[in-house]
């Protein structure tokens, strides 16, 4: 597994919550959407996607439901729960603060 695009610890959860906030999706669709929205910069391996989803589910941030897809297959669809939405807001704020702080640091002029 190549490391450069490895996600900062904990940010995967944030991304997943955000994606699911837009619409309920199944695992495969989530992996596609991740690549799509991040312009292939963020590569989440399939391997780490599912444990992360299951963890979020067990935490109660997202809930899962088996539904039939357009092409008539049964698939597990994840959607955000109410506490999950609150959690997302909080985490997004945190992330915003962190990102600003880090970019400030990175942009410091070297002397």
């Amino acid at each position: 597994m190549s490391k450069p695009s490895d996600l900062v610890q904990g940010t995967l959860d944030l991304l997943l919550l955000k994606i699911l906030a837009l619409q309920p999706l199944n695992g495969f669709a989530i992996s596609l959407r991740l690549k799509q929205v991040s312009g292939d910069v963020l590569q989440v391996s399939d391997g780490s996607l599912y444990p992360a989803l299951h963890k979020l589910e067990q935490e109660g941030w997202i809930s899962a439901e088996w539904k039939t897809t357009e092409n008539n297959r049964r698939a597990k669809f994840y959607s955000l729960t109410r506490p999950g939405r609150k959690h997302l807001e909080k985490e997004a704020d945190n992330w915003g603060r962190l990102a600003t702080a880090i970019s400030h640091v990175v942009q410091l002029k070297e002397t």
Binding site: S45, G47, Y50, P51, H54, E57, G60, W61, R74, T81
Partner: protein, 897 residues
């Protein structure tokens, strides 16, 4: 986690626990689905289907590993692991049923012995009084100079003074113990009674089970109607718990009385070992004593006092308040109140009765130590077995470790197994303990309402559970660590069953054997001491001949007879009984040896007035009629026995025993000397005879001063008719009863027992027999455990050395040499164990001096018997594996691997 999230999370947890297969199936489906979609995506991008599938799986990075991660996310794995461990553990236990049974039985014995002994101690000493805030209750004991705490009670005026003057610190209440004749529905029964002060129930904070209880101010006024409160147990037995008993007409000691209420169910009186049948007002005491004496005399000390400390008042503060009052009373009444101080003792520390110099604590402590020793032996034994099995399972553990099991996980699994064993054994142990407890509780004595409540409450269960779990962990941890620590590589390469036992480990196992032998030896010595003490006590010279004597105790006073009528009744009864067939002689006495507490009288010698500020010495006494010495076969050493002419009108006389003669008139002839029971001024009694010493209070007593006075000069209403018979004394019980009923139909017989039955009772051999029984049971358990342990280790070691034996034999060692080799190893361990055990036993038994009688704590017979027994059994246990080793065929042994 906030509650809202639980709405989503909880069903998932439950689902992963209880619908695990379904959850796993869905996980498979979900991941499978993903792989399929991914494969299709790659195919549509132009890959070959095989290649596409492979890429999809690769990207997942190990399908099974991912699944495991997803399962871990459920956070119930530890529980599932536990369930799995338990299942696996049970399977392992089933696989070797013999070993399992041995271990479970060992733990059951250990835990059972502990639980049984703890339940008895709990009933005696630990269970709090069943009243609200029991920790506030204190016993107020009088501390005299030169006398044990609590050897005397309070007089009523003193009691009232303390109650009033220390009322800021404590609510002081009191009781007088007694027995009464309780007549209802034309049936009379002897009952244990508490004469209580009016504030007894309110101070204790008790609520009636029915009716009402006494109120403060009630119960202490002379001449008020006789009100009765029943103990709950007595209410159940006598009236079947019928609420109509309240208000029904009854008679107490022949006087009309009214039941007004029933004490609460749990409460059986102030003493954990004494059941109270009825509670009477303290004013009812007057029937037994002349009124003015009881209410006014500061010397009539019959009240046992207790106090409920006021909220926020500690024992120290209460004590200092009481000290202030004692000092004040001592100044006010120097004649009576100067020679004592008062001590407040927490109720629990004053058990079982404040008189006792708490040898119960010593006995309880000793037996708890012995039980702990048994548990320790159990642990070592089971440890041994588990170690042996653990080494057999090192291979299994190594394979598991090679397959990726973490060490902590392996330890956990092994610990689960040992705890499972402990739970099984503990459960069986609790049942065993319950049986013993029930047996102990079932000992109801005929003559006394003594009762040990060894029932199981949460304390006992908590104790049993913790001792079982502790056992499980203690015995499990070492084998678990050891087995799981195995170096995977070396174990898997070893091949075969052989197990590389290091010197270190066999050293530890030898240590276990030595410890077990030592522990078992200690138990056997203690058991031996108790058994020897029982034997000694049973062979003690009682000073009288107990065979063929029937004791019939009755109290005409309780049926309402006054003194002349009671005397007339006895005068008529005696010749009637004497003329019954099979009767040798008949006599009357106010006290039967080993039948309760005899009267203690303060004795003053003529011409030797008691120095001021000192108490005249108390001496036990008995009022008897002339044929008494013949009936009891008490040896008269000097002088004469009483005759019919020693009556009310004759000069007062007394017969003393040897010890009294030696103590009061050393190097003088006691015959003709005079002493008084009523102070320095007399009237004096002349000593007319000296008897041999005997046992009076309990069979374990040391020689004690004692004197007899003629019944005619010292009448008592409650007397024992003692009958020496030709045949078995029991056969006289019915005809004697019949004679009594003919003469006095309304009189209840308090007690009818043969002297030998009485001797097995509470003041006789009972305590010695119980102690010997319990100690012997523990000793036997210890012996069994030690023998199993020794056998296990020696035979295991012999097995380990099979190859070595083969080589030795191949090189010319005879089978005798082999026998010696193996046997000597065991013998060495046993000898070291016994040596260590002697030291341990010596230390432990040092504190036993006052719980055994007739022998010293270093009784050689006990030590030698224990040593010989243990050595014989243990050496036999070593001999069996040694013999087996001797029979080893060298060829087989060498090919063994």
């Amino acid at each position: 986690m906030r509650p809202e999230r639980w709405i989503y999370a909880l069903p998932l947890r439950l689902r992963s626990l209880f619908h695990r297969t379904k959850a796993d199936q869905e996980l498979d489906d979900e991941l499978g689905d993903h792989l399929e979609l991914k494969t299709q995506q790659y195919i549509s991008q132009g890959m070959a289907s095989e290649e596409a599938r492979r890429s999809a799986v690769l990207e997942m990075g190990g399908l099974e590993k991912r699944k495991e991660e997803c399962r871990d996310a459920r956070q119930v794995t530890w529980l599932q692991d536990l369930v799995q461990d338990i299942r696996y553990g049970l399977r392992i236990l089933r696989k070797s049923p013999a070993v399992t049974v041995v271990i479970v039985v060992a733990i059951a014995l250990g835990v059972g012995a502990n639980t049984a002994i703890f339940s008895v101690v709990n009933g005696f000493l630990l269970r709090p009084l069943p009243v609200p805030s029991p920790e506030q209750i204190a016993v107020l004991a009088i501390q005299q100079k030169d006398a044990p705490v609590g050897s005397s009670g309070f007089s009523y005026p003193e009691f009232v003074d303390f109650r009033e003057q220390a009322s800021r610190a404590a609510d002081i209440f009191g009781i007088v113990l007694g027995t009464v004749q309780f007549t209802a529905n034309d049936q009379s029964q002897e009952c244990s009674a508490n004469y209580v002060s009016g504030n007894f129930f309110t101070a204790l904070g008790l609520r009636p089970a029915a009716g009402r209880l006494f109120l403060p101010g009630e119960a202490e006024m002379p001449g008020q109607p006789l009100l009765v409160i029943l103990g709950y147990g007595y209410w159940q037995r006598r009236f079947g718990g019928d609420p109509r008993a309240i208000g029904s007409p009854i008679h107490i000691n022949g006087k009309t009385a009214a039941i007004i209420g029933v004490a609460p169910r749990q409460f059986q009186g102030m003493y954990s070992i004494l059941e109270t049948h009825v509670y009477l007002p303290m004013s009812a005491m007057i029937q037994e004593e002349s009124a003015s004496l009881f209410w006014e005399n500061r010397d009539r000390r019959r009240i046992l006092a207790f106090g409920r400390l006021k909220p926020g008042i500690g024992l120290r503060e209460a004590q200092s308040s009481l000290d202030v009052v004692s000092a004040r009373l001592a100044r006010q009444y120097p004649a009576t109140d100067k020679w004592f101080t008062l001590r407040a003792i927490p109720e629990k520390s004053a058990r079982p009765i404040p008189y006792a110099n708490n040898f119960f604590f010593a006995v309880s402590g000793l037996f708890l130590v012995l039980a702990a020793l048994v548990l320790l032996l159990t642990c070592m034994n089971v440890e041994n077995i588990l170690l042996a099995r653990g080494s057999a399972r090192r291979r299994e553990m190594a394979i598991r470790a090679a397959l990726g099991a973490a060490r902590a996980r392996l330890v956990r699994q092994m610990l689960t197994e040992s705890v499972l064993l402990a739970i099984l054994g503990g459960g069986a142990g609790v049942l065993l303990g319950m049986c013993v407890g029930r047996w102990t509780s079932s000992i109801h004595l005929q003559s006394l309402p003594l009762h040990v409540n060894a029932s199981f409450d949460w304390r006992v269960f908590a104790f049993a559970a913790s001792s079982a779990l502790l056992t499980g962990l203690v015995v499990g941890i070492l084998p678990a660590l050891r087995a799981s620590a195995a170096d995977v590589n070396s174990v898997l390469h070893e091949g075969g069953q052989r197990d590389s036992f290091g010197i270190h480990q066999s050293g530890f196992r030898n240590f276990l054997v030595v410890a077990q032998v030592a522990g078992s030896f200690t138990l056997l010595v203690v058991a031996g001491l108790f058994v020897r003490s029982l034997q000694k006590v049973q062979s003690f010279d009682l000073g009288f001949d107990p065979s063929h004597v029937l004791d019939v105790t009755m109290d005409p006073h309780q049926a309402g007879y006054d003194e002349p009528r009671a005397a007339a009744f006895y005068r008529e009864l005696e010749p009637r009984v004497r003329s019954l067939p099979g009767v040798q002689s008949v006599s009357l006495a106010s006290y039967v040896p080993m039948g309760g507490f005899p009267n203690s009288r303060q004795v003053s010698l003529e011409g030797h007035p008691t120095p001021p500020g000192r108490q005249a010495p108390g001496v036990l006494s008995n009022s008897v009629d002339p044929p008494y010495f013949q009936t009891m076969r008490i040896a008269l050493l000097r002088g004469r026995v009483f005759t019919d002419s020693d009556d009310e009108t004759a000069p007062r006389v007394a017969i003393i025993n040897q010890t009294m003669a030696a103590r009061f008139w050393p190097r003088e002839d006691p015959i003709g000397k005079r002493f008084s029971m009523e102070g320095d001024t007399g009237p004096f009694m002349e000593v007319v005879g000296v008897t041999a010493n005997g046992k009076y209070k309990t069979v374990g007593d040391d020689a004690e001063p004692f004197f007899f006075v003629p019944l005619a000069q010292n009448f008592a209403s409650k007397l024992a008719l003692q009958i020496r018979t030709l045949g078995p004394p029991e056969s006289l019980a019915a005809p004697v009863k019949e004679q009594i009923t003919q003469l006095a139909p309304d009189l209840a017989i308090a007690d009818i027992e043969t002297m030998n039955q009485l001797l097995t009772g509470a003041f006789g051999y009972l305590a010695f027999r119980l102690a010997a029984t319990f100690a012997a049971a523990l000793g036997v358990i210890g012996l069994i455990l030690a023998v199993v342990g020794v056998y296990g280790v020696v035979s295991f070691a012999a097995n380990q050395r099979t190859r070595e034996m083969g080589i030795r034999m191949a090189l010319g060692a005879s089978s005798r040499d082999i026998l010696h080799l193996v046997w000597l190893q065991g013998v060495r361990l046993v000898i070291v164990g016994i040596a260590v055990g002697s030291a341990a036993a010596g230390a432990l038994t040092r504190g036993m001096a006052h719980v055994i009688a007739g022998i010293s704590t270093s009784d050689p017979v006990a030590y030698i018997t224990a040593g010989v027994l243990l050595a014989a059994v243990a050496l036999f246990a070593c001999y069996i594996p040694a013999r087996r080793a001797m029979r080893v065929d060298p060829m087989v042994a060498l090919r063994y691997e």
